[in-house]
């Protein structure tokens, strides 16, 4: 029974974490917070993959002299190693964009950015009209 519950507990928490990340990305106005939301989503996906690779009673996939040793599945580990590093690259790119947007608009709040865009369009429209 306890095995049954904890056998899916990891999955449940991972799914809830994913949705918390998604919620932050959708609902928060601050661009920096959105990047944090993406990071949360990302880490939860890593956790899902590593959970798939786990074998109860196994050890880390580093070979020992014992031939009958059970090793956890190394393939998800490799995929996630690649993903972690790529994740940091995308975070860096997102932060650079945010810094650039802050320089151009003076704010990183989504609503204020689109408002100042609207004002600009309106001024241009008035100019064209005259």
């Amino acid at each position: 029974m306890i095995d049954q519950i904890f056998g899916v507990w990891n999955y449940w928490i991972v799914f809830i974490l994913m949705m918390i990340g998604l919620y932050i990305v959708i609902s928060k106005k601050s661009l920096l917070k959105k990047i944090v939301g993406l990071a949360i989503f990302q880490t939860s996906v890593f956790l899902l993959y590593i959970t798939f690779g786990k074998i109860a009673g196994g050890t880390a996939p580093i070979l020992t002299d014992n031939v009958n040793e059970i090793y956890s599945n190394p393939l998800p580990h490799v995929l996630i190693l690649t993903a972690i590093v790529v994740g940091v690259a995308t975070t860096a790119l997102g932060l650079a964009l945010t810094v650039r947007i802050n320089k151009a608009y003076g704010t990183i709040n989504e609503d204020e950015i689109s408002a100042s865009d609207l004002v600009e369009y309106h001024e241009k429209y008035l100019e064209d009209k005259n």
């Binding site: 056998g7 919620y23 956790l47 996939p61 190693l81 690649t82 932060l95 709040n109």
Partner: protein, 188 residues
């Protein structure tokens, strides 16, 4: 066995708590530090799931470098978020997320239980890689031998991605940073 399960459950629940705190913090510095903590707890989680290589990468890259990047970006950004009123958009977002997580949790009953040796994920490639690492490549760390040999092209692609991202960041910030500091000086 039971101890392992309890540690697992405790760590994931800790991650959940931190993530919930991140939603509502408005001070950017606490958001960043909580994110770093979240990554560190994830690294502990990876250790308990036998993924030691992933754990030290997550601890150094996820919790270390990305926190530093966030702090560096913070020095150019506003230090506090604007207060947001709870509106219809938030309700839509909550509904979407609740429905999707409900569906995913429902689907999780079809997933194999964690840690069973007969799970489909363990049936095909993994055994070949472990044997190949012992007999053909001769490196005791299986993850390293897959990373550098069996899936070497993957790692090459990763390097290309990092290079591209590095170039893009340099291009974006090239005149940006110097001009920002100029503007700041003029303001003073």
């Amino acid at each position: 066995m039971i101890g392992e399960i309890i540690i697992n459950a405790f760590l994931v629940t800790l991650m959940l708590t931190i993530a919930i705190f991140i939603i509502n913090t408005r001070k950017v510095i606490s958001t960043i530090l909580l994110t770093g903590t979240y990554s560190l707890v994830a690294a502990l989680m990876f250790v308990s799931l036998d993924a030691v290589d992933v754990a030290f990468t997550e601890a150094s890259v996820g919790a270390g470098i990305s926190t530093i990047l966030f702090l560096a970006a913070l020095s150019y950004l506003p230090k506090e978020e604007k207060e947001e009123k709870f509106n219809l958009k938030h309700i839509y977002a909550i509904c979407t997320c609740t429905i999707v997580s409900g569906l995913l949790i429902w689907a999780s009953y079809d997933l194999p239980l964690v840690g069973q040796l007969e799970n489909p994920a363990h049936q095909h490639l993994a055994q070949d890689f472990i044997e190949g690492s012992r007999n053909h490549i001769g490196i005791p760390n299986v993850v390293t031998s897959i990373l550098a040999s069996y899936r070497g092209y993957d790692t090459f692609g990763e390097t290309v991605v990092i290079y591209t991202a590095g170039i893009a960041v340099l291009v974006l910030l090239h005149d940006g940073v110097s001009k920002i500091s100029k503007i700041n000086k003029e303001k003073k």
